[in-house]
Amino acid sequence: MAKELTPQEMLRIDLSPPTQDWMDIPVEIKPGIYCYPAKPEKIEIVGMPNPHEWNPLDDDWNLPEGWKETFLEGMRERLDKHRSFKIFMDICVRCGACADKCHFFLGSGDPKNMPVVRGELIRSIYRGEFTKAGKILGRLAGGRKLTEEVLKEIWSYMFQCTECRRCSLFCPYGIDTAEITIIGRELLNLLGLNINWIQEPVANCYETGNHLGLLPHTFVQNIEFLLMDIEEFVGIKIEPSFNRKGAEILFITPSGDVFAEPGIYTLMGYLMIFEHIGLDYTWSTYACEGGNFGFFTSLEMAQRLNAKMYHEAERLGVKWILGGECGHMWRVVHQYMNTFNKPVPTMEEPVSPITGTKFENAKSLKMVHMSEFTADLIKHGKLNLDPSRNDHYKVTFHDSCNPSRGMGMFEEPRYIIKNVCNHFYEMPENTIREQTFCCGSGSGLNAGENMELRLRGGLPRANAAKYVHEKYGVNMLANVCAIDRAVLPASMEYWCPEMQVAGVSELVANALIMEGEGPRTMNLRGEEIPGRAPAEEESEGNEDV
């Protein structure tokens, strides 16, 4: 007679998590947490190695012949080339200070998402394959050999890190786990194991100058559509220039703002601010992408894709570059651009033509952040503002990882918001400024197929946003990052549906009193501003004829 089942056995509810050492728990790649693999043709476009068809759910990943040697040789080269990487492999004492700082750990509860363990995935290979102690003592010295299973584990977790660097803030040794991820992804790219959400934008960017693959006429046409909206909602006709030689300033922003909501409203904001102050600037249809998904592929790819910024500045003969609101764009620009690529000798130290302010911080780089530029305009009283137009918004500010931890910009966006909105509330201090939580979808992880992963990673930020929503009625999450604008709406839709998302420049433009403007009863989203509805729509019938 068969043994009687216990109630637990009856339902097969397994509520006991694994208790083995992390090295003994095999990786499980599940739908919802991984991104689709890179299409081979998108790898070929940029001449990267080993393009091939594979599926993360299959046992056989069709790895190229000699994959192990390729990986280890790549690791050896990088240990020699990047002293930081070598140090990060050697000095971690596994104190655990970083362990509970990662949004993916805090949102998933998966211990392999503790930055220390994510680092150990690679460090264990370093010890097992490169150090004497690890080669002899193996597990005893924290080392292991590179196998297909281990490679799959590395792949899974390198794409469960958004390179936000929050963990590095707490490491007493200054280990930057984001840099370990950057190298880890480079090594995976040697085997053709990128994800398509990164690879396709890289290929597009290489071919057309922007991630979306917009051809020049499409890029212009989309901005023209937004100009029509400005004309409708604001009553102002704006005619910006494209590829105009001799302009004083070149403006570059992420292409996401040209296309998707709510980024397009931020872009409408830029157009209005520049019109208001009469800025001598131009757009480029070649350097038409501020973002750089090459940075999530390899440092060399980041360099190649970044080159167009100075090239275009030189071709158009501008004095300096003004950059829109973006996250990783500013990490690349601020920390790599003028060593990646040589600044153009004809460019000058940026000076605001409106206020005369010298941006000494950008003396070498020759590129200024939109928030620095706008804050300076406000400080000098150059913007005519009516913050009451934003009174229906109770605003909080989400510091994007890269502008905050990557370039230390904390005050400018807050200064702007406080001047253009009457209701501003901070989220709790351990979730903002340098301690800010990532949106959960940065570094090329903003695909749709990994939505569960994105929502897990977005939980710590959403938890703080939900708190200010419940406590103060906050309904607008402002930010200065195009990926934030693309992904936070999905996160908020799940965790805090009453919260909207906007770029700072959209809020500025809402408040901007422009010469010759119409009655301003609508905001840039085409929504009626509460309390400002027109008295009577007399001509409504004619419109529909």
Binding site: L11, R12, I13, D14, L15, P17, P18, T19, K30, A99, D100, F105, L106, G107, S108, G109, D110, P111, M114, E200, L212, G213, T218, Q221, N222, F225, L226, D229, G256, V258, F259, A260, E261, I264, P428, N430, T431, G448, E449, M451, E452, L455, R456, L459, P460, N463, A464, Y467, A490, E493, Y494, W495, G526, E543, D544, V545
Partner: protein, 192 residues
Amino acid sequence: MGSGIEKLRDLLEQKKGDIVEEWIRRIQHTYPEETASFLEEEGNQFANPIGASINQSVWPLYDEIISGHDSDNLYKCLDYLIRVRAVQDFAPTAAVAVVNFLKDIIREKILDDIESQGLFREYLSVERRIDNAMLAAFDIYMKCRERVWEIRHNDITQRPFILSGGMCASYMLRRGKKHLEKMKCGKNPSLN
């Protein structure tokens, strides 16, 4: 002298701290050991959002199960706890089974008292309420999963890449929405 159900409620109220703390501990231990230790130790709700979701849900949930009269509040109490578990690495059963832990804990902690005071019949109604709370948790779980799929769907349809050629997606979507709104109002829209 109160009725049997009142006596039982008093007993459950007296033991509330003990029972709920154990309930929280068991929910924390549905996560791997290292994570469970962290969830137990970190008291700051912003540094420990999973822990916050458990704490914020379970205390009021206990009150609602024992003596609540508000079905909406029952759903409200369960929401954050289940919303978090619905996107984590749990099977659907494991995501909602945490509600049922309460039965085991009550039995372990106060079944002897219940029996000695002759309150077993009354206790059955409490178990029934726990069952109902678990059914409510299943509703919430399903709503969350459906929401995830809706969000995925929206993300795909609003994704810029789907457009090739000439139009701004958001612009067209908004134009389309306006067109529909006008149709609903019985006007004769022009798409120009």
